[in-house]
Symmetry: C2
Subunit: 337 residues, 2 copies
DNA sequence: CTGTTAGCGCTTTCAC
DNA sequence: GTGAAAGCGCTAACAG
């Protein structure tokens, strides 16, 4: 049907042309044992014929695909809005590639895992990296019955906690954010957090609270909601009405921080003079706002690299040294706190 | 070596258990011709044994992989900063999946295409979608000699213009942005554009200039540079010093717009009263700034979907109806213009 | 160093 | 409707 269906040259043809057996041709090309002369003949033949080895055949023969499924267990419409996930996925691809592995993207709708499951199998991957996970009984079961290695990015739910994972140290991030606020002299501190059902958000809150407690400070309040701008805007409004004395807020995302800043400016509050703000993410929007945001920088590249490395070790040796890895989230001081 | 290397059950075992031949088992599972009774027996056997078809073997046998390579021809460090590309890639994965295709991510360093090339081949994909492309002789050649279909996202360089592509109508976007500024009564209009070597940026400029010309307006100036915040900041400084009368600017990205807004506020200029701004992208940062940005919304999801569909048609029929598709970039009116 | 011989696990004619 | 058999293109023992 298409112009592309034309026969592509096989190893057999190369071998014939070079006047050797397929086995020899295979070795010559792969750098196995072969005389210099043979090597040259075979390479020449391969070049002339424009030989490209068939990846599928190689995989079937060797039993290795050097491929890992990168799965996003997320509703499709949500993926569009999640900058962290998008960047993570791209970074995973980069890291995987640099280790000689290929990433195959698969979307697993937690609510309709039947075909996600089949998709997972259709990849034929050697391993799975869960780039995002929303627990659901079916997905959990699917993962448990998978007989290839799995690495999580982000702490998996407790029932799945025997799986290795790489994550950002959200607790420590929340802790350090609070400390920054305290260190610059603030005492009336509040938090605007993310979804209370996400461990990511809860961990940050725990760290935040621990830091406050360690200095004998009782946070004004903590308002949870989405990680988005409107939540920041609304929560800040509620916050300032309830606690006009607030002089610092820890926003669990840069978007939340941006929203809070908008509300603050409506109320004529100066940042950081009247109220200081520390965000979380250090995405583009952190430097887009005015004043520029002091925030906790998610080490997405490191996380991606570690996850890829973990998988690679697993695949190569059947072992991995670190089963859990948490990366620090450094504070980036700009103008808002 | 690993616990995962255990033998996974094959079709042959299922067939044996069901007491039929492999051929029959295959058909029963695939929904080919088989009696109701056989179908049941085989499915039962498959379930009991936890049979999962081997994707690689199926591919070798059918000659189709139902897989498409999604390539980013970009330096790795750049990928980390490019929100558009990250989102595009995720969206492509979603769209591909919904059409029954799998996306394999490959990074092709334009400066070191030897192994990118080999990576491309190692994917064994049925087609390739170029998600981003920086022309280089070697990459161009590699693409030309590929004997599988290629679809570009973003207009390819002229030498490669026989390839089909999907893109955003940057020209029209620039045109509409200028029109918005003119329609709200501005006459001293300037542009802060992206890299002058990128067609994306040049197209927006052309549209912008055309709109101005159509109304007899001569733009104050056009300052090109990166799509990032600092460029916006610096360019705006230069602009305001050279043309203090400026009352409107078209920023070719939301980041540029954010930077410009920061400078404007340093100069005590009010937005939009003193100077109106229209951005481009409609990413998260558009609503993070204060006032919220009026901007041109990139239809990333549509672009991704169209590219995936194009590839799917290509693969299924060897044909595609539209060889070039440009999507409108709608104006989103908020508070800055 | 090289050739012969089996597969890898599945699909798919082709007969029955 | 079902089975036997021939591959898909490559790698990997095993002899020589």
């Amino acid at each position: 049907m298409s112009e592309f269906i034309r026969h592509s040259t096989t190893l057999r043809e190369v071998a014939q042309r070079a006047g050797v057996s397929m086995a020899t041709a295979s070795r010559a090309l792969a750098g196995g044992s072969a005389s210099q002369k043979t090597r040259e003949k075979v390479h020449a033949a391969a070049d002339e014929l424009g030989f490209v080895p068939n990846a599928t055949a190689r995989r079937l023969s060797t039993g290795r695909t050097d491929t890992v499924a990168v799965v996003m267990a997320e509703k499709p419409q949500f993926i569009f809005r999640d900058q962290f996930l998008s960047m993570l996925v791209s970074q995973l691809a980069v890291s995987l590639n640099s280790l000689g592995l290929l990433g195959v993207l698969v979307l697993a709708d937690p609510e309709n895992p039947d075909d996600s499951n089949s998709f997972l199998h259709r990849t034929g991957a050697d391993g799975v990296i869960m780039a995002s996970y929303h627990s659901s009984k079916i997905l959990d079961d699917a993962l448990r019955s998978l007989n290839i290695p799995v690495v999580f990015v982000g702490r998996p739910p407790v029932e799945l906690s025997y799986f290795p994972y790489v994550d950002v140290d959200n607790y420590r991030g929340g802790y350090d954010a609070a400390m920054r606020l305290i260190d610059i002299g603030r005492r009336n501190i509040a938090q605007i957090s993310g979804p209370s059902e996400m461990t990511t958000s809860r961990d940050r809150s725990d760290g935040f609270n621990a830091a406050c407690a360690s200095r004998g400070i009782v946070p004004l309040c903590s308002l949870s909601g989405k990680f988005e701008v409107d939540h920041g805007q609304e929560a800040m409004r509620a916050l300032i009405e309830a606690h006009p004395e607030v002089d610092a807020v820890f926003a669990q995302s840069d978007s939340i921080a941006a929203g809070a800043m908008q509300t603050l400016s409506e109320y004529g509050k100066k940042i950081p003079e009247d109220v200081a703000i520390v965000g979380f993410d250090d995405f583009e929007s952190a430097t887009a706002v005015n004043p520029k945001l002091t925030t906790m920088a998610q080490p997405i590249d490191k996380v991606a690299q570690a996850a890829a490395k973990m998988m690679k070790d697993y695949l190569d040796t059947g072992e991995y040294e670190l089963s859990k890895q948490l990366f620090r989230v450094p504070l980036v001081v700009r103008d808002s706190a």
